[in-house]
Symmetry: C2
Subunit: 208 residues, 2 copies
């Protein structure tokens, strides 16, 4: 009759932590980050306003956990895209993620969660970057400069995502192209060249 197992509104929720993260995720999908307040979160999870404090030291820690989730999602999306569409796919997946989950992305990179205070977050964030970095390094094996290149690639993709989701790119620049096509075109504009030697189109798949 009820949801699935008859959960009768017990005193102990059972798994509040993940429940909180779940409803928080829903809020992030439908509302602005500002709407994600501890109290409304508690309310919508059907629990008292102080309950979340048993699972998160404070609001910032909650946000950090959500950001960490975000990096995991992003990493996964990138790995899948890389498998299917190579380096180009990774870049596009990055932008797609930002546009599909704008508030989550904001949370991850908006500076509201000072990364220095949350080592676990830094950890997972770094790992997500390593995927991109590794893929590019494998693709452009230059020893010197490869590191810089991968950072440039990340910056490019990241910046594009940010500008798009903030609505900074004026409509006339995109023309009638789809967002995906536009992304692809913009990225295709760029080549990398360590020192001044080899160049690799950012849009090229590893072996095509």
């Amino acid at each position: 009759m009820s949801t699935s197992k008859h959960r009768k509104r017990r005193y102990h929720h059972g798994d509040l932590r993940v429940a909180l993260l779940r409803t928080a995720g829903k809020i992030l999908e439908k509302e602005r980050l500002e709407a994600l307040t501890l109290r409304t979160l508690a309310r919508r999870t059907g629990v008292s306003h102080a309950a979340p404090y048993r699972h998160f030291r404070d609001r910032e820690s909650l946000l950090a956990a959500l950001a960490a989730e975000g990096f995991a999602m992003l990493g996964k999306a990138q790995r899948e895209a890389a498998a299917a569409a190579g380096l180009r796919g990774m870049g596009e997946a990055y932008v797609r993620f930002a546009l599909e989950q704008p508030q989550r992305f904001r949370l991850m990179f908006g500076g509201e969660v000072p990364i220095g205070r949350h080592p676990a977050l830094r950890e997972v964030a770094t790992r997500a970057f390593d995927a991109l970095s590794g893929a590019l390094a494998a693709h452009v094996p230059e020893a010197r400069g490869a590191r810089d290149q991968s950072i440039a690639a990340w910056a490019l993709v990241h910046g594009l995502a940010q500008l798009l989701l903030e609505g900074r790119v004026d409509a006339s620049a995109r023309g009638d192209r789809s967002e995906a096509q536009f992304t692809s075109d913009v990225l295709a504009t760029v080549r990398f060249a360590a020192g001044s030697a080899s160049r690799a189109p950012v849009g090229a798949a590893p072996s095509a």
Copy 2:
């Protein structure tokens, strides 16, 4: 004896609006954006907590005004840098600005001020971008693709700034290079090529 002109604490401040923006600017230089609350702002400006409402509809409008200021600053820095050091200089100036005024930059791009609700802000922001876009377009006169290139250039520089100021670039990647040198190196990694024709190193000065 007192500050300079004997300002006697008159009932009417005289020029509260700019005074508010000034102290807000100071706060942004020394503290986190979160510390910029209407009440502390009023307090530090030596005025009652409701006074700011005579000059800004709400907190968001205040932030919008500060962001607009920021775009003006950024635009100026870029123009100056362009005059002195060409396209490379503009990119570097962009990153430098972000690193010198991290909280201001966050305010400008962090999504806390929904640009759609503040047409004046969008206006000045667009103008700042046009400087970059125009300079690049003049430099790479390709008709088709020039627009995309300038967006890629902006994205690159913007993303790099963002990643650096969030501390996302791990120290080992930078090595012992100064931040400016590192920025320059990373940017130098990239070339642009519209369609698949001409390429222009992003770091090159207009005529060298």
